[in-house]
């Protein structure tokens, strides 16, 4: 048991050493890059081994807490409790840590000469360390400290390239919203502290039942808003599409892959572990918020032509899907169907790790594209598949996974979510049960739109002809960057083809939260097939499908043998209706691709387009045409901008109080004195 703890300590120390190395070798970039990201990958490896072993051997179930280092301040204990839920999330952060550190070894070379790599490495490791501590923290104080350090280091990383005004603004927006979220979380924990009398998480265990209903609901809402801001659920998501694109790609991969998951971890820990049996409206709220986030996330993603902004919106969509799983689980807990609750919880958590993997993979792919074409705008890319074949393949695997298409892991977690929504229909007699199939339909709409979006993303970026000089001269990225992407691709494929093997890791987590161990029930035909929890609710086996597909490949091979043996393949120009040849300008663009959806959802997007034509001599032939299309982000324009304007106007009006005349200042004191004399005595 203790060698696992030493492994954990080793991992954490590894991050600290890497951060220190980053700062130490501040001067020489190569050393800083090598040491900070090298140590980080080693530490991440320890993290992976630790979490896999403690989950597999059930050591996490014993979940005894130990103190990392003695605290010299009163009331504070830096204690850590690796219980199953924490260890599961540590697995996510370590897995991503390994892949991203390897990727960063190559990616940071782009900053040589321009920016200091040591600082990037240092903050990268501080972020990894703080996130791991957030997952493992055992008392509210240590949790909040780790949480704030995570937010601070993420802010420093987001505004790493602070030369651009857009980066600074995004960084500030991120940190302000994240801090407001932290304020809500702090209030939530203080409410729990008020009820339990101490900060330790073990005293918060199912504390909800003993708290008054009002305080419990207040705590729920505070935690939902607090963790929701960090997770990026819809009304609180505006920082996410602003912050991720401007951050360096390895950072935005880490933020999208892991940082959002701290919000999910927070919600799972509080809703399932602390607040006791939930009332019905909690589950309904989380499910509704999840559905809205999913649908709006993907709709706005479709409208983007900045690759990383598109991926950022997809994070919102996938967070929505995860919340659907969690919301369904909460509703089942309310009606007492703990078996179904475990299935829904597994669906949610499985999608959490899936999303972490394929979103990080896609961001790394986008980073590789950005690295070689120096632009994020998809309208200037194209034809990269021939120039960057390996990145294209990895990006394609990521795209297939995120669109929940069969052989890969996205499909498995969405299949589990569908199963839990389907079985949920029979659990409550009231009309609430209608929510399950409706959110199932919205989930279907979301995954179909996601598929459309990633056809656009992959097609416009990688296929057809290059639309700009940069894209034409793009070249494949270095080996370490490819290695990072390869690890994530392998993980996606493994989680897609062998779900039943991976589900065994979920047993301690569901046992801790809902008291059931489902992996045996879910795997049929000795692990080949995954089945729903009801007796025969429906089975699926991605491994089986892939094997049969390989066999079925024999049919076209046979047809080729019989008929097409002697045929030849000739390369010719694409059909251009007889004009003098296709130029890259004639290709379909990202804006064009999403035009039909923009027209169908006009009410939501309220698209505006301006076309300026410049005529030379005849009014019929324009010399130049400038086309500009805008889609209105309703949350931005309806809620956040007016709120911002109102706050600034209020503050400017308050400034009039300090008008400069000493008479006014004396009057303020006079009035205070008179009022006090009259009323206070």
């Amino acid at each position: 048991m203790d060698n696992l703890d030493t492994l954990l300590n080793l991992g954490l120390l590894g991050y600290v050493a890497a951060a220190a190395a980053g700062l130490l070798f501040f001067r020489s970039e190569k050393l800083a890059n090598l040491f900070s990201f090298g140590c980080a990958s080693v530490a991440a490896l320890c993290g992976i081994i630790f979490s896999v072993f403690s989950l597999a051997t059930g050591a996490a179930a014993a979940n005894q807490s130990f103190e990392l280092f003695p605290s010299l301040i009163p009331y504070v204990r830096f204690s850590v409790r690796p219980d199953p839920l924490s260890v599961f999330f540590t697995l996510i952060v370590s897995l991503l840590g390994l892949a991203l550190s390897l990727y960063s070894l190559g990616y940071a070379r782009g900053f040589y000469g321009r920016k200091s790599v040591g600082v990037l490495g240092a903050f990268f490791n501080v972020l990894l360390l703080a996130t791991t501590l957030v997952f493992l923290a055992d008392n509210a104080f240590f949790f909040l400290i780790a949480w704030e350090i995570m937010a601070l280091s993420a802010y420093c990383l987001v505004s790493y390239e602070h030369e651009k005004e857009e980066t600074r603004r995004a960084g500030v927006l991120y940190f302000v919203m994240s801090h407001i979220g932290t304020g809500c979380i702090m209030l939530g924990f203080l409410l729990l502290f008020q009820a339990s009398g101490s900060y330790g998480f073990e005293t918060f265990q199912s504390l909800g039942d003993s708290m008054s209903a009002g305080k419990r609901n207040a705590a729920f809402l505070l935690f939902l808003v607090g963790f929701g801001v960090k997770a990026g659920i819809v009304p609180l998501h505006t920082w996410l599409p602003a912050a991720h694109p401007v951050a360096p790609s390895n950072v935005s991969a880490l933020m999208s892959g892991v940082l959002i998951k701290t919000g999910i971890y927070g919600m799972t820990r509080v809703f399932f572990d602390f607040l006791g049996t939930p009332p019905n409206w909690w589950g309904v709220t989380v499910l509704t918020v999840g559905t809205i986030s999913a649908v709006l996330g993907v709709l706005y993603a479709l409208m983007q032509h900045d690759l990383k902004r598109l991926l950022a919106y997809h994070s919102i969509e996938n967070i929505g899907i995860i919340l659907m799983g969690l919301g369904a689980a909460l509703m089942f807990l309310h009606t007492g169907h703990t078996l179904l609750a475990s299935l829904a919880l597994i669906a949610g958590l499985y999608h959490t790790i899936n999303h972490a993997l394929f979103k990080a993979l896609l961001f790394l792919g986008a980073g590789a594209v950005l690295h070689s074409t120096h632009t994020r705008d998809m309208e200037e890319m194209g034809g990269l598949a021939k120039r960057m074949p390996k990145t294209a393949l990895f990006f394609l695997v990521g795209a297939v996974a995120i669109s929940a298409l069969p052989p890969l892991n996205g499909f498995i977690s969405e299949w589990l979510t569908y199963q839990s929504l389907l079985q949920g229909f029979g659990t409550t007699p009231s009309l609430i049960r209608l929510m399950f199939p409706l959110s199932g339909a919205m989930l279907a709409l979301t995954s179909a739109l996601a598929a459309a979006c990633f056809v656009k993303a992959f097609g416009i970026t990688f296929l057809a002809q290059p639309r700009s000089e940069h894209a034409a001269h793009a070249h494949e990225v270095s080996f370490t960057m490819l290695l990072g992407q390869a690890i994530l691709t392998a993980a996606c494929v493994f989680l897609g083809l062998f779900p039943t093997v991976f589900l065994t890791l979920f047993d301690p987590v569901t046992h801790q939260l809902t008291g059931h161990q489902l992996s045996a029930q879910l795997s049929v035909a000795n692990g080949l097939v995954l089945s729903g929890v009801m007796s025969d609710g429906g089975t699926v086996s991605t491994l089986g499908i892939t094997l049969v597909a390989l066999c079925l490949l024999f049919v076209p091979f046979a047809l080729w043998l019989v008929f097409a043996q002697s045929t030849k393949i000739r390369r010719g120009p694409t059909w251009d209706c007889g004009l003098k040849g296709l130029t890259p300008l004639m290709e379909y663009t990202a804006t064009g691709f999403s035009k039909p959806i923009r027209m169908i959802f006009k009410a939501l997007f309220r698209p505006r387009r301006e076309v300026q034509r410049e005529y030379d001599f005849s009014p019929y032939f324009a010399k130049t045409i400038r086309f500009e299309a805008h889609v209105e982000e309703i949350f931005e324009t309806r809620i956040y901008r007016p709120l911002n304007r109102w706050v600034l106007r209020f503050s400017r009006r308050m400034r009039a109080l300090q008008a400069g005349s000493i008479q006014a200042y004396l009057i303020y004191i006079f009035i205070t004195l008179v009022l006090l004399l009259l009323f206070a005595l």
């Binding site: 602070h162 030369e163 304020g183 005595l681």
Partner: protein, 491 residues
Amino acid sequence: MLLTPILLVPLMASLACLLTPSRRVMEVLNVLAFAVALALGLRLLNQVLAVGFVAEWEEFLSADALSAWMVLLISAVSLAASLYAGRYFRRDLASGAVTPGRVKEFFVLTPLFAAGMFLVVLANNLGVMWFALEATALSSVLLVALYNRKTSLEAAWKYVMLGSLGLALALFATVCTYAAAVGLQPSEKLPSFNWSHLMTVAPQLDQRLIKLAFVFALVGYGTKAGLAPMHTWLPDAHSEAPSPTSAMLSGVSLKIALYALLRFHILTTQCVDSGFSRTLLLCFGLFSMFLAAPFILVQTNLKRLLAYSSLEHVGLICAGIGMNTPVTIFGALLHMGYHALTKPVLFFAAGNIHQTFHSLELRIIGPGVVKVLPVTVLLMGLAAVAAMGLPPFGLFYSELTVISGGFAAGKTFVSVLVLVALVAAFCGILTQLTRILLGIPKRERTSDATPWDGVGAMALLLVGLLVFSVWLPAPVLQLIQQAAGIVGGKP
């Protein structure tokens, strides 16, 4: 014999500076004086922990845990200010912003200012405390008016008028308290006006008179402490004074006035058992925090921004004490210490920026200071992170202690208000500082930007803050707990 040397050393330094012509010597004298004061303060700390109540000149000067903690703060901030002042005035003289006569005036008045503050803290007699506070006010007025610009004269005038008015009201409060003491034993000729004696006899005092006295003390000393409706002089004085002075003003002189107010608060809680003084302190503290936030958000001047942030922190300390549970008072006193270590660094950095950009307007300083003064911006960034209450630094810990103390004591709504105000101030400071510190400078700065200037003082304070954030030494912890006990009303 410990208290009188603490008073005498700065006075001697002031006199010595008056006589010596050379500036170098004056700098060294100041630094030495405050270093000795700090050492004496530490010895006082040990003695207070051992004995509990140190008195001299048959109780004319006395020091309990609260005053010992204050002595430490004063000497620390003054030492840092004097360390920084040397380089600061050398650059000012070079750029002609100030005449050698004025620099001499600075080095004479600063120890006087500090001595006044020491006397406030060590005086056992309320009248002498008032007199000492008046002395600090007068010495700091000429410091504020050091630059003799139009705006600094205006700031000095407002500072002195509002300050003197506040102190006149405070004098009335002292008179009323003394009258209550006299009323108790008409026979005895001149009852002793020592605070320790008053504490013993407090429960029998006339409650109505003590409440009247507290009201006047609140408005009087509140003006000097910069509580909300009476804070209007604070941004002017702090932005116009030279940086070392505004560091001392912001870092500790506000807390000295708050200390005086606390003496009356303790007296009133002893005498009037209802939460009269507690609720007033709480209301004024909260009002200050909420008033500071909008001003920080739309501020155009860097030093005024820092002044309003001090207003907010003083408001937090006041609210912490107003909640009146041992935990919140402990948090408030600890916050005094951490704030005293953080705020001077910000003012020193502002001083560096002021001397390099010759302006404090955020528009003119513009983006990209990091490219011009990298080291100053790094240290200012760390101090700003601390001032915003983020974890690696102690302010997060003390703020959370205050709020969790409030929650534990059932004062949920008030603690929520405190947290909301803190978050609002955080957003204000972050948006303003990011706008000027990061990015690319608009136009190329001339050569007079020497990045390594004045960094010693700043680094010393930051290291001190970081060390005390992580490791709270046992004697200091015990001292603060004892001080919290005194403020909380246990004798």
